[in-house]
């Protein structure tokens, strides 16, 4: 890998994001009964939401593709596309093929609403659809713009969540973190018991989350040799969320954007230093 070439960074991050899509797609196939008529994620009911959008050709195509069992074909295509990323890794001309398949399938799945999809799936959609746009060009400037786009999305995600949290006292003293971790949906009983027993640890961990989410944007200003501790904290944060809260696919879709942030940080620093 050439650490200066933006295309290599795009390939690298798409491999990481691709693993996330692979896990997500296999999970969706595992619970496929929920996509059939009468299932929790049945399109036959959800399509009502889209009636206002149209009765035009686009809606009819989407409608046909999201019906069961066709939706399983879409999900399977995502798996095939991820495998093709591995095949076309070295080919700049053919690399767009799996990316375009992922773009079409992920955007179509997005039309069905949340439907068991989470923030990680949404980030994967953003990654691959914007990457598809960027790969339509062979201009290095466009590829760099794509890396900035992805790095800004990552920072927007952390900053939005962080800014909303710092305004609440409950996040400073850790009581909101305790509330989140006590639920069976996102929580973890041993962690909850530990935090309840050690309020100082709870408060510290909550402040660390605030600091990380609000301060992550610094990675866009510093080269990797200075910003690596922030990236390391981010990696540990996502791994902790996966282990304690079961947010497994966030690890892939969010960490996929770290190479983009690292590239942008290096570029910004070099621009300032060389000037």
């Amino acid at each position: 890998m050439n650490y200066q070439d933006p295309f290599d960074f795009l390939v690298f991050l798409s491999v990481i994001a691709g693993i996330g899509v692979l896990v997500s797609s296999l999970e969706m196939i595992t619970i496929r009964e929920h996509y059939q008529r009468g299932g929790l994620f049945s399109w036959e009911i959800k399509r009502v939401r889209s009636w206002g959008v149209g009765s035009g050709p686009l809606f009819h195509v989407v409608d046909a593709l999201l019906r069961y069992p066709n939706v399983l074909v879409l999900i399977s295509l995502q798996i095939v596309a991820v495998l093709l990323i591995g095949v076309f890794l070295e080919s700049r001309r053919l690399f767009i093929i799996p990316i375009s398949i992922l773009t079409v399938t992920l955007v179509l799945m997005g039309a069905s609403g949340k439907n068991g999809r989470n923030g990680a799936d949404q980030m994967s959609t953003l990654i691959f659809s914007s990457l598809f746009l960027a790969l339509l060009s062979d201009n290095v400037l466009v590829w760099k713009a794509e890396l900035w786009f992805l790095a800004l999305q990552l920072n927007l995600a952390y900053l939005t969540s962080g800014i909303l949290k710092v305004r609440k006292k409950g996040w400073w003293d850790g009581s909101y973190l305790l509330l989140a971790i006590r639920t069976q949906l996102y929580g973890n009983e041993p962690v909850w018991r530990t935090f309840r027993k050690h309020p100082r640890l709870l408060s510290l961990m909550s402040k660390v989350v605030l600091l990380l989410e609000c301060g992550f944007f610094i990675t866009l200003l510093l080269p990797l040799r200075y910003s690596w501790p922030i990236f390391l904290a981010g990696i540990l944060f996502h791994i902790a969320n996966a282990v304690a809260m079961g947010l497994n696919t966030f690890v892939w879709s969010y960490l996929a954007l770290y190479p983009a942030a690292a590239y942008c940080g290096n570029s910004a620093w070099n621009m300032v230093v060389t000037r």
Binding site: E27, I31, H34, R117, Q122, S137, F149, L152, T160
Partner: protein, 184 residues
């Protein structure tokens, strides 16, 4: 031509990031547009913010028959999170799906328009449709005559791992369990 294409891509990426920033506001007009509704291309980054999810909501249902007593309340079961959930966690999607539909139902209940028409709102119908499907597939003997069978559901709230009462926060009407229709 190539330059024009590149400028167009740059313009789309710039517009997309601006739209993404704008869409983070709670009452963002962008978020309410049908375009966003359709393809979900504008992200929502309000994870656990400003207040986190602090209660678990569960859906329970029971089968009502004209000729016998009602069945006991049956919980909509979701398999527990496995130990290796950091790697593989398919049933979290079901748990999140239930949580999303329940919260959407609560939002509709507070809405002036939907408040009185909750039984025809999308989240209500999604839950009812799913439970009718479960009753039809799990208890076929009970619905030999669908005209005499109804399903009713409730939503309960518990404070996660804390010991406490399970409160009923919503109860549906009773609805006949129709046979599987051939056309949605």
């Amino acid at each position: 031509m190539t330059a024009l294409r590149d400028y167009a891509i740059l313009a789309v990426l710039a517009a997309w990031i601006i739209a993404s920033i704008t869409a983070q506001a709670r009452n963002s007009r962008l978020r309410k547009t049908r375009w966003n509704d359709f393809f979900n291309l504008l992200p929502n980054y309000r994870f656990f913010s400003p207040e986190p999810v602090s209660f678990d909501h569960k859906i329970v249902y029971r089968i009502l028959r004209d000729d016998t007593a009602a069945s006991p309340w049956i919980p909509l079961s979701i398999p527990p999170r496995p130990r290796y959930c950091w790697l593989w966690n398919p049933h979290q999607r079901m748990a999140t799906g239930v949580n999303d539909v329940v919260h959407l139902l609560f939002r509709h209940a507070q809405d002036n328009f939907w408040g009185s028409r909750l039984h025809v709102s999308l989240p209500y119908i999604v839950i009812l449709n799913h439970l009718s499907f479960i009753v039809r597939s799990k208890y076929p003997e009970m619905i030999a005559d669908p005209e005499k069978v109804a399903v009713e559901f409730a939503i309960t709230r518990v404070a996660g791992f804390e010991a406490g009462e399970e409160l009923v926060v919503f109860k549906s009407y009773a609805h006949r369990v129709a046979r599987q229709s051939s056309q949605a």
